[in-house]
Amino acid sequence: MTKPLVAIRSVAKNFGEFQALRSVSLDVWPGEVMCLIGASGSGKTTLLRCINQLAAIDAGGIWLDGELLGVREQGGRLHRLSEREIGRQRLKTGMVFQRFNLFPHKTALENVTEGPLQVQGRKSDEVRAEALELLRRVGLSAKADAYPAQLSGGQQQRVAIARALAMKPMLMLFDEPTSALDPELVGEVLAVMKELAKSGMTMMVVTHELGFAREVADRVVYMDQGAIVEQGRASDVLGTPREERTKAFLSAVI
């Protein structure tokens, strides 16, 4: 019996008075491509950040690859993990940010090799070869020695994807990867993500690109006010939504 790669159970997260997530439960299966849609403030980005532990959850639990994230159960109580252990858990996920967040003082190649060299302590020629192969895969072989400021937004985001892949994650998290891009650059990033999906990578994608969701996603999850409202096959949720809130959102977006 296969187990879910990510199991989210009754997760809640508050920012002061604001409830960003209210008792969210969800499974993500190995090889699945899941698109999270919803208005801004609906909690979809927060959910990704909790899985990557950039935000600590206030209640509930998230298991990744069978391992409880961020805390350890001992004597009926939960103890926070050390920064080092959290860092080790983060290596199982790769994160792609809305605003790329490439390291501006490092070249495209150095951005990709930074994690494997510095964090994983791997050998430099082997890492370099892998990084060049990843840059080729995202179509940027010619830009290996360019600095981020010399690249277009679409190229920067593709480097960011290569940087995340360099850590050989089990799960890729995409936080609105095309929202900061000029319209004509969106396609090149989505193409790289489609190729990645085809290769069997498990992906969670927060996106407003419904066309991408329809084409690539195995499952679409619609969130509103910190809760999952509706989920199912992309054609069902996007084509024949059951919930009124989903219908209202979709008619506002399209």
Partner: protein, 285 residues
């Protein structure tokens, strides 16, 4: 298709006409005035009671050269100590640990809040408080022997500088986008590694101009160490004029050396700035 509408009359073609040079009367006038004032000052000094031959004779005197070497050694070492302390204290100040935070704030408060010359005198006279210093059972020595003018000046200048540098460093770190910390964390880096590899190199670009300022300040602040007998430039110049009474001549000698050193430092700073500007589009100079 409609024909092009005809252009209205009365607006002649100006292409091909040159822009006339402006006379800039005020520039000429101000230049003339400044030249007059400078000439008057030069004449006053030339006729004043200054023996310029002493200036040229002592400019390269051995004692003066030793003084400038000592000044530079002290400035570099004290600045290095200041930058080291500054980085450590800035990291403490930005850490989530309230104890470290308070200690860092207290350090900055104490050493920025008292005059540098007073701190130098306190370090130099430490022996009055602790006649012997050391680690109980391991090592001990008389404080007078340990606290030489060199060490007192280094501690006084360096620790004081650290308090100022920590604020410069903190500003630099705060200038780095929060997304850079998150991206570093997302590839598994801990806080300190993210600071060292990602945040500090980017902060350096921002902090070099103010640090250059601080270093120039440090070169001149070493002259305060003359009060605790450290043989730097001003101290040695003073020793000479105590003997030959050529006060102004030797002060001019010292002043010329300080000016020369500071003039050399400015282009060095530009080189450093270029080194840390990697990957950023250069602003127009």
């Amino acid at each position: 298709m409609k024909p092009e509408p005809a252009l209205a009359e009365g607006f002649p073609d100006l292409s091909g006409m040159q822009i006339a040079r402006e006379p800039h009367w005020f520039r000429w006038l101000s230049a003339a005035l400044i030249t007059l004032v400078l000439a008057a000052i030069a004449r006053a000094f030339a006729n004043g009671q200054i023996e310029w031959s002493y200036v040229s004779r002592f400019l390269t005197a051995k004692v003066i050269l030793e003084g400038i070497v000592n000044t530079m050694v002290m400035a570099v070492l004290a600045m290095a100590l200041g930058i080291f302390l500054g980085i450590v204290v800035a990291i403490m100040r930005l850490s989530p640990n309230p104890v470290l935070k308070t200690v860092a704030a207290g350090y900055t408060w104490l050493f920025r809040g008292t005059p540098l010359i007073l701190q130098l005198l306190l370090w130099f006279n430490l022996a009055l408080v602790f006649p012997t210093i050391g680690i109980p059972g391991l090592w001990s020595a008389r404080a007078v022997d340990v606290m030489t003018p060199f060490l007192a000046a280094l501690l006084g200048l360096g620790i004081n500088q650290g308090a100022y540098t920590s604020e410069v460093m903190r500003a630099g770190m705060l200038s780095v986008d929060i997304g850079q910390y998150e991206a570093a964390q997302a590839i598994g880096m801990g806080r300190l590694r993210a600071l060292r590899r990602i945040v500090l190199p980017q902060a350096m670009r921002v902090v070099i101009p103010p640090l250059g300022n601080e270093f120039i300040g440090m070169v001149k602040a070493t002259s305060l160490a003359s009060v605790i007998q450290y043989p730097e430039l001003l101290h040695n110049a003073e020793n000479i004029y105590y003997a030959n009474s050529r006060v102004i001549e030797l002060l001019i000698v010292a002043g010329l050396w300080y000016l020369l050193v500071v003039s050399i430092l400015t282009p060095l700073q530009m080189l450093l700035e270029r080194r840390f500007a990697r990957g950023t589009l250069q602003l127009s100079r």
